[in-house]
Amino acid sequence: MLSINNLTKLYKGSEKGIKNLTLDLAEGDICAFIGMNGAGKTTSIKSIVGIYGFDQGAIELDGVSIEKNPQEFKQMVGYSPDTPVLYGNMTGYSYLELIGSIYQIDNETINEQLNTLLKKLNFGSAIHELISTYSHGMKQRLVLISILMHNPKLIILDEPFVGLDPNATYFLQEEMKKRAAEGSIVLYSTHVLEVAEKLCNKVVMIHNGEVVVNDTMINLLSESSLGEKFRSITAHE
């Protein structure tokens, strides 16, 4: 269970950020995080995964607080950023070995998970090349492999479909459904509302740093489509 209570993070000297975000997600939930550019999606996500500190509020995963037990919390989380800046001087292979060591995954699990993921994401021999030579999509795929290989309880993806080819996009959508069915929680930000309608059971809309919609997808779609709702909220901008 992911529990976020009154999360507030404002940037120094400005009113921009996120104000009083409260959200509960249970095992099996796939939640879409929707909002205009600069609405506060990435700020919220970066606060949840521990990149940003926050001004007030609490974040807990299965009762483990990110503030009190950051290591234990992070052990259960897999995060993919919107722009994956990786160690360009490492090969994809050595990057995955590093992540395996950090998450203390045993060799048997690593080999089992990685060989499947590498095949499904069609990585081939590129895994032995320097990351600096990778395209955006390849970096994105490498990060996906690295976060999925330790079976995280909470998967957080910031605009994950940007830069992915159709095969990788299909794989990711299927993987999100599969992982949720196995008991993981998936939270991802997106601008592709049609996909979110089909994939998610929960939706959170943020506007100017404040949560304006926090509902189940079924409830929301009974009134209007996700696109119509989004346009009605942001109409005055």
Binding site: Q75, S101, I110, L130
Partner: protein, 517 residues
Amino acid sequence: MSKLIQLQKYILANDFQFSRLGSSNNQDDRKHAVLTLGGYCAAVVMAIGYIVYIAFDLYSNEESMLFFPILSSILFWALGFWTILSGIKKMIVSSDTELIFSLPLPLWQAKFFNVIRLLILYLLIAAIAVFTGTLLHMFILPDFWFVLLSSLLLVVILPLLVIAITFIISLAVKILLNFLRIHNNVIEALLTIFLFLSPLLYITYTSASLNYKDIFSNSSPLYLFGIISNSTSEFGFFDLVSLLAITLALVLLTGYVFTRRYAFLVASYSPSSKRKARDSSTFSSNSLFKSLFSKELKLYLSSITYVSNTVLTPVLLLIGSLAYLFNISPLLYDTTLELSFITLSSKYIFILFTTVCTLLTTTTSSSLSFEGQSIWILLTSPLSLMELAKAKIALNMMLFVPGLACAILVYTQIFSSSLLDSLLFISFTITSLMLISMVGFFVNLKFPNYNWSSEMEVIKQGKSTIITAMISSFLISITAILILLDFNFTFHLLLLVNISIMTFLIYKLRECTLPRE
């Protein structure tokens, strides 16, 4: 051309933080800009102070004629050394290269964009230094107009010469290492620095005294290129014209490579993607320390700028210790320095040399900031700060292993020290190195900067690097004075102090977390 000038003006204003000062609404941004500009002003004032000192020193010894040869020599070596430490790659590609090539500029302007940026900066520095000297000599040297004209020529020649020579040396080293199939940034950095500095080092080594006047007048570009045969004489207008001709020839060669072989240059200065094929079916996770250390090593070796700026003191310690060990230079081994009030034994000089080398290190003070925008990997990983600190500190310790091993051999064998004395020296040297490595990491923890666009921003100009360098200088001064007062007692005392501060830092590190963005 006006577009190029406008763009350069904009980028220079950005580099010098004027744009942040003028347009940012953020208080922190403005404060940072004011501090950076203050730092630049302080550096200019210090440089002018040094120039004034040289002028008065030469004037009081009736050697004012040597002022411009010495000043041009100092500028040449200082700017050249700085260019190599900053990385020659910066002349060819930078973070905005793709943007520059997408702009409606003539191709040659896009190719030379970074060189022109560097040239403008060096012209400014040379102009400030040379015209300060000209003002100081207005009424001393005969024929003011000749001095002014010579100064103007020097201001143009020096930046062009520095850029052309450092570029040619760096490219030659790259081609040679590629031919020998050696792809190692440490070797490349050391070889480039060594080749550039070799005339200066040779002149220093063969010089009768270590007086700056002898060394710099003998190593001025005019003397090195054989334009003047006597280094102690002043140079004439035609000597400068000859130097200008040589400079233009080197600039033409550089220009040819840039215009005709630009793609080759970009490929040469970009990381190679070639890696040995491995069996992709088996992965294995190593111990956490081993993995983190390996990551640190790869990160360190990936940057020739990082290597150049941090490998000098470990290499100096190694070379110096080897010189003692094999008695290469009797000056180092036998001689004691006799000052007016005290005699410094060669053993004391060696301890001081070892202390200076081990304490003057800033590898860890930029190690956290050097992660840059990939810091999210560490921030979102279940890592303790201690685990990360161990890997980063171990890397700096590793750099010193060969030098320290030789230094210990020298201390125990050459100076025939007793067992207790040797143990004290070994413990003191190792703890000093560990201490400054921990201090550097700790300072970087307090002043991290993950959003940099040029490596030099964190490696040489970062707040944590400057603070660590100041702490190092303070520790060196204290050590030098205390050891001078009472050799044995001080070793015990300093060892105790080192261990106490390290224990305190370990305790503090256990409490800290990785600083978030």
